[in-house]
């Protein structure tokens, strides 16, 4: 146990939009409280994954304890729980906030509040957290603190007197922030003598210590040597290690109510110690668990396949390992005639999908292809045969067995400079969005609201939004409901054989254009074969687009004399290697690159 009493603990997180300076601020807070040896200080200390530093985003929640000698002469323990800022990881934010009593709201003084931030602040306020508003980057010439303070007052009812002006880059405002944490955020209040209740807000897997749970102790004490039980899973263990974060692990003997730390459980599966579970002591268990979290459900699904078929077992192993650290994605084996053996994976969003794929490729040295992303559809079968939930176009029954198909919709809100209203309106209605209203944040910025099918959002909405607004618009969305839609399965047939990896579920009105587009792209990508190869796009049995790859007519090396023989053999060997890398669809050989190219550019 640390020597800081409960009354001098503060648990907080930082809410900020990407690039508004959250990580820099966290770095400054750690420096100012001498948490990290200056010689070991790297920028964005808390973002430990390369991927996080590269992309400038926080993917995993993290925690660190700052020990702060306040103006009142006392030492305080300030637990910072860092949260991801991207919409895909909203669930991590809500989890982290639940472990906190207050939050610093960081807003870029030149850019104002963004959609994601707005959503998170509302969430924090609903949970009763104290908000400490900070205007960052006031050193920038473009900063306009007055305008942003107006915006905060009008949209979030945050009084301007509470706002702290800061520049994390220049170290301005850091002391004020630390003092505000001490003075404004209440100390945790859980009873120390009650049976243990600790909330698991994150976890990772450690080869030596097993599952390590990040916990906020709400009531009672967690001690080394005392057996613990996961109230949700029922798993029991003896803690291998307890401690807090600086940000590296610092072992202690006891963690008590109000403290944030970790417990290494020695358990081998994250399923035994899930995020949201409550830890209690086995000998003196709590009567009821803490309210857990809503389990984050995957919204976006795609098949992940190894480029080299031999890598399938390696991919399985990699998925299992990665899943220990990120339980929010799902995977199950599937196979595709075109791509071979792989896994159907579920992700929280497109960025999450991209990150999981990149981590698999980098950390496990794999080359992967992802099939076109899909969402989860409700399929009402005819003749009272009930309902199917599918996340893979291949699972869609033929149209005569279907009464109706329902697709998920989301409520999207977009914060944007007002000059982009028109283009965002065009984009959103083009994506079947329904305009739901708009409010001005100030005279230059608006929040636009749309209802929009998730399937449209996950194709390329976000990319288009960014490019059409030069990156100025921000997007947030929440799932709303399932709605009936005239959806069809668009199949691509090569030489009469459907290529499962290229099937999509699509709105009927879009099928024609998309089918033509895919067929003409494939025509360019499929090399000439020994025979003429028709490429067709079809809905059910109806062909809606057709292209033809002509048969190869001539493939001959004319000269073959002394010096040509070696050269010719090298050429033939190259052609042979090329053939070996191809995937077979029926009797047609298609280079893997063709699938890659189509799957990467299916957004038009």
């Amino acid at each position: 146990m640390s020597d800081i009493p409960q009354s001098r603990l503060r648990n907080f997180s930082i809410i900020a939009h990407i690039d508004h300076g959250k990580s820099t601020l966290a770095d400054r807070l750690m420096e100012a409280t001498h948490t990290v040896d200056p010689r070991q200080m790297t920028s964005q200390m808390l973002d430990s994954m390369d991927l996080e530093r590269e992309k400038g985003i926080t993917i995993k929640a993290r925690a660190v304890r700052l020990e702060y000698a306040a103006a009142d002469g006392l030492n305080y323990g300030l637990n910072l729980i860092d949260t991801p800022g991207h919409v895909d990881f909203a669930y991590e934010v809500s989890r982290s906030l639940q472990a906190c009593d207050g939050a610093i709201l960081v807003v870029d003084a030149s850019q104002g509040i963004e959609a994601q931030t707005l959503a998170n602040v509302h969430l924090a306020m609903k949970m009763g957290l104290v908000i400490i508003p900070v205007l960052n980057k006031i050193d920038l010439p473009a900063s306009d603190p007055e305008a942003v303070m107006n915006e905060l007052e009008e949209t979030l009812a945050i009084p301007r007197e509470e706002v702290i002006l800061a520049s994390a880059k220049e170290g301005r405002g850091i002391t004020e922030i630390l003092e505000a944490l001490v003075k404004r955020i209440p100390a945790p209040s859980g009873p120390l003598e009650a049976p243990l209740k600790a909330l698991v807000f994150d976890s990772h897997y450690d080869t030596y210590k097993g599952v390590v749970n990040y916990i906020r102790v709400q009531e009672g004490r967690l001690k080394m040597g005392e057996g613990i039980t996961m109230m949700g899973s029922g798993a029991q263990c003896l803690p291998v290690e307890l401690g807090y974060f600086r940000p590296q692990h610092v072992p202690v003997q006891v963690l008590q109510a109000g403290e944030v730390g970790y417990v290494a459980t020695g358990l081998k599966s994250v399923r035994d110690a899930r995020v949201g579970d409550t830890v209690t002591t086995t000998a003196n268990p709590a009567a009821s668990p803490l309210p857990g979290y809503q389990v984050a459900l995957p919204l976006v699904f795609a098949g992940l396949y190894p480029v080299k078929g031999d890598d399938y077992p390696a991919l399985r192993e990699a998925l299992e390992k990665l899943h220990l650290n990120d339980a929010s994605f799902t995977f199950e084996a599937e196979s595709s005639a075109a791509l071979g053996f792989g896994f159907r994976c579920g992700f929280l969003g497109l960025l999450h999908m991209e990150i999981v794929q990149e981590r698999l490729e980098r950390e496990f040295n794999l080359q992967l292809i992802a099939s076109a992303p899909s969402c989860k559809y409700q399929v009402h079968l005819s003749n009272g045969k009930g309902e199917l939930l599918i996340n893979n176009p291949a699972q869609l029954p033929s149209p005569n067995h279907i009464d109706e198909i329902r697709e998920p919709w989301v409520n999207a809100s977009i914060v944007t400079p007002s000059q982009y209203i028109g283009t965002i309106m065009d984009l959103s209605t083009d994506k079947r969005g329904i305009f739901d209203g708009m409010e001005y944040l100030d005279e230059k910025r608006v929040v636009m609201r749309f209802q929009i099918p998730l399937a449209e959002l996950i194709v390329d909405y976000f990319d288009q939004l960014k490019s059409r607004t030069q990156g100025y618009a921000s997007l947030d969305y929440v799932e709303s409901e399932y709605r009936v839609a005239p959806l069809v399965k668009l199949d691509i047939l090569v030489n009469g054989e459907p290529v499962d990896a290229l099937s999509t579920i699509i709105h009927r009105d879009r099928a024609q254009g998309s089918g033509r587009n895919l067929a003409s792209k494939l025509k360019e990508l499929i090399p000439r074969q020994m025979f003429e190869v028709p490429i067709q796009a079809a809905i059910g049995g109806t062909i809606i687009a057709r292209e033809t790859v002509k048969a190869v007519r001539k493939n001959v090396l004319a000269k073959c004399y002394g010096g040509d023989i070696t050269r010719k053999k090298k050429l033939l060997e190259k052609q042979k290697e090329g053939k070996e890398r191809m995937k077979r669809v029926g009797s047609v050989e298609i280079p893997q690159e063709a699938f890659l190219a189509v799957l990467r550019t299916d957004s038009e």
């Binding site: 007519r553 090396l557 004319a558 000269k559 060997e573």
Partner: protein
Amino acid sequence: MITPQPPRGLYLHVPFCRSLCPYCDFVVVAGAAAFGPRSRIGGYLRAVEREIDLRAAAVDRSFGALGSALRTGDGTRAPLESLYLGGGTPSLLPEEALAALIARVRDRFGLANGAEVTLECNPGVDERGDARAAVQAGVTRFSIGVQSMNVDALRDLGRRHTPDDVSECVAAVRAAGATSVSIDLLADLPNVSLESWAASLSDAIALDPDHMSVYALTLATDGADAGDADDRLATPAGALAWRARAAAAQDEERGAEELELLDRRLPAAGFDWYEISNWAREGHTSRHNRLYWQRAAVEAVGPGAHAFDGVRRRWNSANLDAWEASLHAGELPPGGADEPLSEEGAAAELLVLSLRMSTGVVRDEAMRGGFGEALRWGESNGLLAPHPDDSTRIQLTLRGRLLSNELFSRIV
């Protein structure tokens, strides 16, 4: 165990041309190096004579001194069946130099009675040389680089001659008493319609040659064709640009139709195909080139020249300076060699080379050799069919000749 064999032929590379053609990948030096006061032909001749001596001495050491073609097993080796002077433009060599080279080969390697001595020649007035002198020096066969009988196509290809020059050249070698006259043609030429190409073919047939080689124009546009071997020179940037333009104007369909046309027209004119790109009247197949397709041993001299001793392929550096400098210092020139092939590799290579020829292979033997899957694929796709004169053999069909790489890439 395969052991090295004494050479049955000699390839002698003459790298000089009056000017460079942008599609050509052979080892060539042109312009001032080939003609006039700064000509390098003199230095080249001294070096290549030296190489003939050195290579012949090595052959003598390995296989015994030159004996008679009629006797074997007496510790001597047989004289060559073929000498091939290729280029470049070997007809640019001064007549006395040509005679001296052939005499030296006869002296050091031996030339059997009735050996084939081929001289490659270009039809241009300033490059065709003196056919009569060549025949007197021992040349029996002329291979003329015609390429096309279409005047615009010739200009576009960077050739120095016209169709009329071709007629004169053919007449001259005939008058000189050549035993065999071959002409080269190119197919799939950029910006040449099927009709023009057909007309050019008719004109070529009208020349009444004994042998025709027709090559689909192959344009190495990446310049990386040389690989890591130093047996080729870098392609000049201008030639690469020409090739990129020309490749864009080629047409796979049209090229295929031209080769199909060939298969109708040449047999009607008395030529039989005997190798993918070669047709001949009876008795006029190229003995030298058949040595390559039989994987027979062929020695080679000159910059960039490739030799094979039955086990290993080796080559000389294409760099004229380096090649010449070593020989002037009395040493063999720099170069490289491939690793000897495994038994299966050698069998695959022999199968591919055999299938290039109309004689094809004995089906059952080839099937037993482990190539059954590839051969059956070829049969079921119409690339291979029974030999018309020998039902135990299979040979490429016309379709098979056009698509041979589809089959061969399944064999290697």
